[in-house]
């Protein structure tokens, strides 16, 4: 079966299309898998936990995809919001939730050694690349870009976290990303 080309669809469109074409969610998953895995990998340093948490996050996202409203914020921020709460749950309870996955009847993962190695590679690569780049930034920009890109915080959350205004946070993120782009051009 052929599916439409969703490469030009933005993240919110993919979530909206999920109700009519399940494959759209597959593309959404492809876009964010490495970032979410990397997020959990940095937090836990455990490939199996990162994999379980990632599965739970995407199951929860699938469950609520129809309720996502682009006017409320980015799909990326929304997804990372789910991820942060799943991580908070895990820390608090000392275990990984699987309720969304069960509700959506998403089968538990087959985490073979090979699968875990693959997960670890993807997660650590995403994490390593991002952290190496971030380390080159000044402190204020590093915190802002890290919060925005690695942790998926929206500007209001970042402002609260860094105890400064949203406009200042936006400025730091913008400058930081500009610096990173310049570095990437140089290295290329």
């Amino acid at each position: 079966m052929r599916h439409p080309d969703y490469t030009r669809a933005d993240d919110a469109e993919l979530l909206a299309l999920t109700a009519s074409d399940p494959e759209a969610f597959g593309v959404f998953y492809e876009r964010f898998e490495a970032q979410i895995l990397g997020f959990f990998w940095r937090a836990t340093r455990r490939a199996d936990i990162a994999a379980d948490l990632t599965a739970e996050v995407f199951a929860a996202a699938l469950e609520s995809a129809g309720a996502f409203r682009a006017e409320s914020g980015s799909a990326r921020g929304w997804l990372f919001g789910i991820a942060r709460h799943e991580l908070a749950d895990t820390w608090e309870r000392g275990r990984v939730e699987d309720r969304a996955r069960r509700r959506m009847q998403v089968a538990p993962l087959a985490l073979t050694d090979e699968a875990l190695e693959r997960v670890e590679e993807v997660a650590s690569r995403a994490s390593r690349d991002a952290l190496q780049l971030l380390d080159s930034l000044p402190e204020d920009q590093r915190l802002a870009v890290g919060g925005r890109v690695l942790h998926g915080l929206d500007y209001a959350e970042l402002a609260a976290s860094l105890a400064c205004s949203q406009s200042l946070v936006r400025q730091r993120v913008s400058r930081g990303l500009r610096t990173l782009r310049a570095q990437l051009k140089e290295s290329a």
Partner: protein, 489 residues
């Protein structure tokens, strides 16, 4: 897609999305699809729920994954022969096996007022149930107990002289060949617990595949070649013949029998006693749950739920002719939709009394304090108007600052002091007396190092489980207790 870390998850999610789509379109009438819709949380951001209420891992799928059903039970004739001879073998064995030191105990029931609670006096019962081992030797038995905090637990092991034991084999107890009595406070690997119903009864159904025949807690066999060469073995190597599949549980007083199917052949067995107890032991199966890309992964399966899931049990027969035809052999479906035709599950469950808002409502006092590093923090204090004496209930706190609209922005369980812990597996929380002052401190922002300045609002609720599953989100009700608002300078 080729660069994905978990391509199988992508496939599973798309399949789930497809089921969701088909259900919405009304094209699927299967129980699982209907159930997925029936039990879904209200639409909205997942952050709108109280975080921190995950499934309790050992009330859920323990091991990694169900996969494709495979050609199980090809050795059925041999197995039946062994079943017939098992009784004689057990009798012979009981005269030959001597007792060694008891298996180690762990403090899972150490505190009557915290966690699972202590063992309630007079509740420990060895059920009149004996299942032959398919390869002979000691039969298997089951024991139940209840705790001071409203929890009931099941334990299984080999039976010897009226005691539950584990055997010194398969790498357990130094392969000493002796019987080691299983303590009541045993490893959680050999303990399944759930909430008691309104009449103090246990309803639980457990599936364990890949269990060593020794019955030793936490010991699993790893037949040669199970894992990739890079895998660092954590268990003793043993042949597949030393593995068993266990299906056991309590189906309630209305259950009269159950039917299980092996290799296409069905067998109906009566449940035992007023608990509706059952215990089925079969030979271990390899590749019952195949891993991705034809891997040799077989870490085994461990589930427990309202009804038998991922098991060979296909039907439960109740008094008055009702029958639950289970649709759970390869999928996780629970609640009423687990059965066709639909039946309330667990069947015969008597509801528990849930505290009301009128009983719980109390002022929440908030003050700004300074933490050890002179940073602002919020101290909350309220008086519990009712006793919270069960693991079912726990106060929870939810708060957010004015700059962030997300409800449930930060939250956590309010716990009065440290509780005994065991490997992160045991739910925490302490019993609270009526009239007791409860305190909680908000001392850091959930996304940053500091508590945000400005107006902080929040509320306290009582999370209360209404079903048998411990920490099951869909069976937990939340009753408002009180709200607070305070300005952090």
């Amino acid at each position: 897609m080729s660069d994905l870390g978990m391509p199988e998850l992508r496939r599973a999610l798309v399949d789930a999305a497809r089921r969701q789509h088909e259900t919405a379109a009304g094209r699927v009438g299967e129980p699982g699809a209907a159930h997925a819709g029936a039990r879904r949380r209200r639409p909205g951001l997942p952050t709108s729920r109280w975080p921190g209420l995950p499934a309790w891992r050992w009330r859920g799928l323990r091991a990694r994954r169900p996969g494709l059903g495979t050609s199980r039970w090809r050795a059925l004739p041999a197995m039946l022969l062994l079943l017939v001879s098992a009784g004689a073998a057990a009798a012979l064995a009981s005269g030959l096996i001597s007792f060694g030191a008891p298996a180690p105990s762990v403090p899972v029931f150490a505190n009557p007022g915290a966690g699972l609670g202590g063992i309630a006096p007079g509740t420990v019962r060895l059920l009149p149930l004996s299942a032959p081992d398919p390869h002979g030797g000691l039969p298997w038995g089951m024991r139940v107990l209840s705790t001071t905090r409203g929890v009931g637990c099941l334990q299984v092991g080999r039976l010897l002289d009226g005691r539950l034991v584990a055997l010194g084999q398969d790498g357990a107890f130094g392969d000493d060949g002796r019987a080691h009595e299983l303590p009541l406070s045993t490893n959680v690997e050999r303990l399944n617990c759930s909430f008691l119903d309104g009449r103090g009864r246990i309803f639980d159904s457990v599936t364990i595949e890949s269990q060593a025949a020794s019955a030793a807690p936490g010991v699993h066999c790893e037949p040669p070649g199970t894992y990739a060469p890079s895998h660092r073995a954590t268990h003793s190597p043993c042949p597949l013949a030393d593995e068993r599949n266990l299906y056991y549980g309590l189906l309630g007083p209305d259950a009269t029998s159950l039917t299980y199917s092996i290799g296409g052949e069905s067998q109906t067995v009566a449940t035992q006693g007023p608990d509706g107890a059952y215990l089925i032991v079969t030979p271990g199966t390899t590749h019952r749950y195949s891993g991705a890309a034809g891997s040799r992964e077989r870490k085994g399966l461990y589930t427990s739920d309202d009804v038998p899931v991922y098991s060979s049990i296909v039907a439960i027969h109740y008094r008055d002719g009702a029958t639950c035809h289970l649709a759970t052999a390869e999928r996780w479906i629970y609640g009423p939709q687990a059965c066709a035709p639909q039946l309330p599950q667990p069947f015969g469950w008597v509801k528990v009394d849930v505290p009301t808002h009128a009983q719980l409502a109390t002022p929440i006092h908030a003050t700004v304090i300074r933490d050890a590093e002179s940073r602002p923090a919020i101290r909350l204090r309220f008086t519990s108007r009712v006793a919270i004496a069960s693991l079912r209930g726990e106060y929870q706190l939810e708060w957010h600052d004015s700059g962030i609209a997300m409800p449930g922005y930060a939250s956590g369980t309010i716990d009065e002091g440290p509780s005994p812990s065991y490997g992160g597996m045991i739910p925490q929380g302490r019993s609270i007396a009526a009239g007791q002052t409860v305190t909680a401190t908000i001392d850091q922002g959930p996304v940053g190092p500091h508590l945000p300045r400005g107006i902080i609002s929040g509320r306290v609720k009582l999370a209360y489980a209404t079903g048998p599953l411990i920490q099951a989100e869909e069976d937990t009700t939340r009753i408002p207790v009180g709200t607070f608002q305070i300005k952090v300078p």
